[in-house]
Amino acid sequence: MALLPLLFLALSFFLPLWQVLSQGLKAEGRWTAARLAQLLSDPYVLHLLRFTLKQALLSSLFSLALGFPLGWLLARYDFPGKEAARAFTLVPFVLPPITVALGFILFFGNSGYLNRFLIGLFGLSSPPIKVLYSLWGIVLAHAFYNAPVFARFVSAAWEGLDPGLTEAARTLGARPFSVFLTVTLPQILPAILSAFALVFVFCFLSFAIPLALGGARYATLEVGVYLYARVYLDQGQAAALAILELVIALGLTYLYIRGGGIFTSRGQVGRPQATVKLFSRPRQLFWLPYLFLSVLVFLGPIGAVIADSFTRPWQGQGPTLAWYGMLFSPAQSPFIGGSPLASMALSLEVAGMTAFLALGLGILVCWALRRMRSVLLEALLMAPLAVSSVVLGLALLFAFRRPPLSALASGPWSIVLAHTLIVYPLVVRVIRPLWQGLDPALVEAARTLGAGGFLAFLTVELPLLSRGILVAGAFAFALSMGEMTAVAMLSRPGLVTIPLAIYHFLSARRFGAASAMATILILTTAGAVFLWEYMGRRLLRGQA
């Protein structure tokens, strides 16, 4: 049975990856590193590399600066809407990056909502805030996207601290601030470092945001591979760059996993942390600027997208549904080379198939890893985790040109496969710990009652995992809906999903259409996750 997922990965992942390697490392039928060496002396490539690392570092620092206070608030204070704020920290997992990019353009852009408001307020002649189409636009958007990750890690670690330690420090005479520096901070530092490593990898591999906000000048390695493969049409160069990126990303992932052991913080000990009501003391008014800033940065862009989707395309009063009308008419749109309705149908189809395949593959992988404890098997079965979406897209782009995968070339299969490979490791991460947490005696009880191994799985393990499977399926669906990197690599006329359509509208500066589509996308992805979570809870109420 372990052979089944291995076979699937061999055909859809390892074989295509091999083709990328041979494209990038072979010249005239011989293996050579010449192309890689040449790449490393190319000033543009070096610029890409430097820029990618630089923006990833800055983005991680900004995410930390924006996210740490939020984690602090969640861990130490009580305030109305706290649960909503906590749920909000899940946003990066469900909000497609292209909608974030769109929101930033609409809100922080030179003629965006913020600048227009400030110009109107102070009677200025030029926009006071110019961050877009520069390094800082990308960094700010990444910070928006990844600050919630820091908030989650920090609040979880902080809430898990033993309050006895800070109390001990206080009774020994330390003031609150030095207690924070000498007792609290050292204990949550591992969580901060873990989050930093994770966010750094995210930003290093970011695609849609630098593509939409940076363009060719502020391109990351990920964007570079895309540009070579799909814009400059230089397959060899694209493959070589992909190999370079693969090596770096593997190194980063390795560091993250190795670091993971060091960085993990201890679990909950003793009593829970006491919380304080926010603004119960005048000193806490210092939180106001942060709250103002975070509302601006977090809610501004999302609000701008939704507001813009109801704004008339030309000067006029009152909201309009014209953009939504356009999306739901079957008319072709020249900007996306097809009808928006077809894009939406395609996205739903792809996301549905992806959720189904990723769940199947994920469950099989969990099952195999449960049966056979082998580091090699685990590395093989989880390998797609270490490969970026662009590289994966490139691999499948090559693979779908020749047998055996060329047989599937007609439909959206290449995108479905890419999404399945991107998403199933997440399915494994959700389901595997639940499965490991199941009491093995339950299956043994089923066995002694006369059910064979597979029947016991179907009647005992599967129902008990169903909640996790529902959640994983919802996340798989939402991620596939919002994924744009692999789609951009694999798209062809007539195969344009919602995120790609948004990108095309955005490039053509059709903001209303882009916003309407982005609003629909946000509602679908967030809706899928929250509805399934809610339904799952309702359906399985009272069960473990």
Binding site: L442, E444, T448, G450, A451, A456, L540, G542
Partner: protein, 341 residues
């Protein structure tokens, strides 16, 4: 022919020997308890009987049939788990019906008739639709028992079925459990670390230590005539004095213990051998006697005093009706027994 037989069951987990050459027979309708401290391998033996752990060596026979190669679902054994392992996603009915539905594949109507009968048997009529998390510990224990009995197993195995309960309920339920198993004349193996429970419930008790079965006997024999120092000290309170055999005469030996010669009976090896002299506190008669001990302290236990004394530097435990102090004379009600070291 024994209903259940273990022949030389052996299992190692890496360096740890969980079971070493364990053999025993359980007759039709008999209740055998496997008793031992935690980690002695008794649960491993039970799991090998159930087919959940494959033995390294040895065979399991049920009604003369070698079931060693069979998977658990094909053996016809029922197992009551230590933490009950009730399926949390099913109701009480669903749990009890599980083996009838997926094991014996009975039609629906027959299933519900059987389940109703079983729940009545364990005193839980009307609990069909309850959810597992709504049950008390005692109720969960009964459901687990009903579930294991439902497919009419040839042998019932119980893994510490009472250990999760509080003390009073444990005593109450162990009486009920024995009564029920006897009424159904089920062949059963009961694993426990509680010697009182083992003796109260079982027809015979097997004492395990470090993977080995040291002795299998009816509870009175086990208590009165233990064959090893471990069995002697694990069941009840025991005095074990090291000594050397001085001389042997018909059925009795003279043992030198701390410089004093004490007559003892039992299987005696040759003179000069090192042995233990074993007797229980209640075998000691205080008052007149050839021996003298010095009382260290006494504890009041309600119905009697437990007295800690010294017999020439050897610890001596005895029972008295009053608090003793100073030096006391004592004798043995019957000669102590010899145990090999």
């Amino acid at each position: 022919m024994a209903k259940l037989e273990a022949r030389g069951l052996t299992k190692r987990f890496g360096e740890v020997v969980a079971a070493q050459d364990v053999s025993f027979r359980v007759e039709e309708g008999e209740l055998l308890a496997l008793l031992g401290p935690s980690g002695c391998g008794k649960t491993t033996v039970l799991r090998m009987l159930a087919g959940l752990t494959p033995p390294d060596r040895g065979r399991v026979l049920i009604a003369g049939e070698d079931v060693t190669p069979l998977p658990p679902e094909a053996r016809g054994v029922g197992l009551v788990f230590q933490n009950y392992a009730l399926f949390p996603h099913l109701t009480v009915f669903g749990n009890v019906a599980y083996g009838l539905r997926f094991g014996r594949r009975l039609p629906r109507r027959e299933r519900s008739r059987n389940v109703r009968k079983l729940l009545e048997l364990v005193g839980l009529s009307g609990y069909e639709r309850r959810r597992i998390h709504e049950l008390s510990q005692g109720e969960a224990q009964r459901v687990a028992l009903a579930r294991a009995l439902a497919p009419q197993p040839r042998v019932l195995l119980l893994d510490e079925p009472l250990s999760a309960l509080d003390a009073a309920l444990r005593v109450e339920l162990r009486g009920e459990l024995r009564e029920l198993l006897k009424r159904l004349s089920i062949t059963a193996v009961h694993v426990t670390h509680d010697q009182e429970e083992a003796m109260a419930i079982a027809d015979r008790v097997g004492v395990m230590r470090e993977g080995r079965l040291e002795q299998v006997d009816r509870p009175p024999e086990l208590y009165e005539r233990p064959r090893t120092p471990f069995v002697a000290s694990f069941l009840g309170r025991a005095n074990l004095w090291p000594g050397v055999i001085v001389s042997l005469s018909s059925g009795e030996a003279l043992v030198e213990v701390a410089g004093v010669r004490i007559p003892a009976k039992g299987e005696a090896p040759a003179p000069g051998e090192e042995v233990y002299v074993f007797f229980r506190p209640e075998h000691v008669v205080i008052g007149e006697g050839p021996y003298e001990a010095e009382v260290r302290h006494a504890e009041f236990l309600g119905d009697r005093w437990q007295v800690h004394a010294r017999f020439h530097r050897l610890p001596l435990l005895l029972f008295a009706h009053r608090a003793l102090g100073g030096k006391v004379q004592f004798r043995f009600r019957e000669p102590p027994r010899l145990l090999r070291r």
